[in-house]
C-alpha cells in the first residue's frame, strides 16, 4: 500500500514541480513585493495597497469591471438557459449547438476587422439602424463589449445548462405530468430547484470567463479605449508596460483574493453535489 501511495505522488510530481516554478514560487515573491517599496526595496507596509485603492484609474477600472459583470452575467445566463430549454424541444439540437459554439472557435484577432466595420460611425450597424451612433467612442462602447462577451460565451453556457438539465431524472417530469402539471409548473417546481447546483457552477465559470473579454476590447480599441470600457485588464496591462511593479504586485494579490473567494464558493457547491 505504501508503495502505491508513492506511485501516485510520482505521477503528480512533474506537473506539480512545473506549477511550483512557474506559478507558486513567483507568486510568493509577488506577495512579498506587494509590501515593499518600489525603489530601494524597504518594507512599505500597506502603502502599495493604499496607493492602488487611491488610484483614479483603479477606481474607474474596478467600477467598470463590476458594472460590466453586473450587466453581462444575468443577461448571458438568462439567454443561455432559455436557449437550452428550447433546444430540448427540437430535433435539430446538434446543428444549433454547433452554431452557438462556433464563436468559441473564432479567434478574437480574426474578428477585429469585422468589429471595426460593424461598429464604425459609417459602419454596417448604423446603416441598418439608420442612425449615427459613434459606437466605439461614446458610452455605447459598453454595449459593444457586452455584445462581444455574450456572442462569444453563449454556446459555452448553453452546453453547461444542457448538461445540468439532462442530469435531472426524467421520471420526475413524467410523474408530475401524470398528476396533471403543465410545462410552466414543471419548470417552476422541478427544473428550477434541480438546476440550482449546476447554476452556481455556471455563474462562477461565466464570471471567470468574463475576464477574457479584454481580448476583444484591447484588439479593437487598444490600451486606452473609451472610458466606459477601461477595464481592470487594461489597467494591469498598462501597469505592466510602465513596469509599476509595486502597484501590479498589490493589484495581483487583491485580484487573486477576489478570485479565490469565488473558487472556494464553487468548491463548496461541488462538494455538496458529491454528497447528494
Amino acid at each position: 500500500m505504501r508503495k502505491r501511495e508513492r506511485t501516485g505522488f510520482w505521477f503528480v510530481l512533474p506537473c506539480l514541480a512545473g506549477v511550483m516554478v512557474f506559478y507558486l514560487i513567483p507568486f510568493a515573491d509577488v506577495i512579498r513585493r506587494s509590501f515593499q517599496k518600489a525603489s530601494g526595496g524597504g518594507f512599505a507596509g500597506m502603502y502599495n495597497y493604499v496607493q492602488v485603492f487611491g488610484n483614479r484609474a483603479f477606481k474607474l477600472a474596478a467600477g467598470n469591471t463590476l458594472c460590466f459583470v453586473a450587466v453581462c452575467l444575468p443577461l448571458l445566463l438568462l439567454l443561455s438557459l432559455t436557449l437550452a430549454l428550447l433546444l430540448q424541444h427540437t430535433a435539430a439540437s446538434k446543428l444549433f449547438r454547433s452554431a452557438y459554439l462556433m464563436p468559441l472557435a473564432v479567434p478574437a484577432a480574426s474578428m477585429v476587422l469585422l468589429w471595426q466595420l460593424l461598429f464604425d460611425n459609417h459602419g454596417i450597424l448604423n446603416g441598418i439602424l439608420g442612425q449615427n451612433v459613434d459606437w466605439m467612442n461614446t458610452d455605447a462602447s459598453f454595449g459593444v463589449l457586452v455584445f462581444s462577451y455574450i456572442w462569444k460565451n453563449l454556446g459555452y453556457d448553453v452546453i453547461l445548462w444542457l448538461a445540468g438539465l439532462t442530469a435531472i431524472p426524467g421520471n420526475i417530469y413524467e410523474a408530475a405530468r401524470v398528476d396533471g402539471a403543465g410545462s410552466a409548473k414543471c419548470f417552476w417546481y422541478i427544473t428550477l430547484p434541480n438546476i440550482r447546483p449546476a447554476a452556481f457552477t455556471i455563474v462562477v465559470l461565466s464570471l471567470l470567463n468574463s475576464f477574457k473579454v479584454f481580448r476583444e476590447a484591447y484588439l479593437v480599441a487598444g490600451g486606452y479605449p473609451q472610458e466606459k470600457i477601461y477595464l481592470l485588464q487594461h489597467l494591469f496591462n498598462n501597469w505592466f508596460q510602465e513596469l509599476s511593479v509595486d502597484k501590479m504586485a498589490a493589484g495581483s494579490v487583491l485580484l487573486a483574493l477576489a478570485a479565490a473567494g469565488f473558487v472556494l464558493l464553487l468548491q463548496k457547491s461541488w462538494d455538496r453535489e458529491e454528497e447528494m
Binding site: T90, L101, L113, M248, G251, S252
Partner: protein, 279 residues
C-alpha cells in the same frame, strides 16, 4: 405552430452566431474593387454606410492567392502559432495527463491540497499571474523567446482538471483486475488509463487548442520581437488599405480552429459539460 416558433427563435440566434464567419468568407472572395467600394465609408471617410454583399459580385480567389504566394510574414506568424500550439499541447499531454491520472486513481498524503491548488490556479484570470510569470521568465532569461509563451502554457492546470474528471469515471474494478494480473502501475496507466480516458484527453486537447490558437495576452507581453509573434497578434496590425489581404489572413487564422472545432465538437461539449455535472 409552437414547434415552428421555437425553431425560428433558435435559428435566428444561430444565424447571428455564425454570421461573422460568413462575413469573413464573403470578404475573402471579393475582388479589391468591390471591397474598396463597399468599405469606402469607413476607410476613406466617405459618405453613407458600409454595405455588405453576402454573395460577392465577382467571386475571386485573387486575394487568397496573393496571401499564400506573396506574404512571407504571414507564413512566419502562422508557423509561430503552430509551434506554440503544438508544443503546449504536447507538454500538456506529458505533464498534465500523468498528473490527472495520479490525482484521480491514487491516494497519497497532501493529495487534497494539490487538487485544491490546481483548481484555484485554473480559475485565476491571467492578470493575477502575469507579474509572477514575468518575474520567473525574466530570471530564467526566457523573455522574448517562444518558451516564454510555451512553458507557462504547458503547466496550465485546466487540462489536468478536465482529464481528472474523466479518469475518475473509469470503474475501479477494471484497474484492480489488471493489478491482479500483475501489470505494473505505469503499464496500467498506459494500457488502461489512456484508452479508457481517451474521451477526456481529446476534450482537453480540443479546449486547449482553441485557447492556444487564440492566445493574445501572453505573447503580447512576453514577446518583443515581431518575428516571434503568433498570428493572433499579427492580424490586428494589418493596415486598413489592405482589406482584401486582412480578410484572407483572418479567414486563414479561423480555418484551423473551425476544423478542430467541427471534428471535435462532441469532445468539446463533453469537456465543457464535465464542469457542470458529474459523469
Amino acid at each position: 405552430m409552437k414547434k415552428g416558433l421555437i425553431t425560428l427563435v433558435l435559428a435566428v440566434v444561430a444565424a447571428i452566431a455564425v454570421s461573422p464567419v460568413c462575413f469573413l468568407l464573403a470578404g475573402m472572395l471579393m475582388d479589391n474593387q468591390e471591397l474598396t467600394e463597399c468599405l469606402a465609408p469607413v476607410f476613406s471617410d466617405g459618405e453613407g454606410f458600409v454595405r455588405w454583399h453576402i454573395i460577392p459580385r465577382y467571386p475571386t480567389l485573387q486575394n487568397l492567392v496573393e496571401l499564400l504566394l506573396d506574404a512571407p510574414e504571414f507564413f512566419q506568424m502562422f508557423w509561430n502559432s503552430v509551434k506554440i500550439t503544438v508544443c503546449i499541447l504536447g507538454g500538456q499531454l506529458v505533464f498534465g495527463m500523468t498528473a490527472a491520472w495520479g490525482l484521480a486513481r491514487y491516494q497519497f498524503r497532501g493529495k487534497k491540497v494539490v487538487y485544491m491548488l490546481f483548481i484555484v490556479l485554473m480559475m485565476m484570470p491571467f492578470q493575477v499571474t502575469m507579474l509572477s510569470e514575468y518575474l520567473v521568465l525574466d530570471s530564467l532569461r526566457l523573455m522574448d523567446t517562444l518558451s516564454a509563451v510555451i512553458l507557462p502554457g504547458i503547466f496550465s492546470t485546466f487540462p489536468v482538471f478536465i482529464m481528472y474528471r474523466f479518469f475518475c469515471s473509469i470503474p475501479k474494478s477494471i484497474i484492480e483486475a489488471a493489478r491482479i494480473d500483475g501489470a505494473g502501475e505505469f503499464r496500467i496507466f498506459l494500457s488502461m488509463g489512456l484508452p479508457l480516458g481517451s474521451a477526456g484527453i481529446l476534450s482537453s486537447l480540443v479546449l486547449s487548442f482553441l485557447e492556444c490558437w487564440n492566445m493574445i495576452e501572453r505573447p503580447m507581453l512576453f514577446l518583443k520581437s515581431k518575428e516571434l509573434w503568433p498570428l493572433s497578434l499579427f492580424l490586428p496590425q494589418i493596415k486598413a488599405g489592405r482589406a482584401g489581404f486582412a480578410f484572407c489572413a483572418s479567414l486563414m487564422a479561423v480555418l484551423p480552429a473551425i476544423f478542430v472545432f467541427l471534428s471535435g465538437q462532441d469532445y468539446l461539449e463533453q469537456g465543457i459539460a464535465s464542469a457542470a455535472a458529474k459523469e
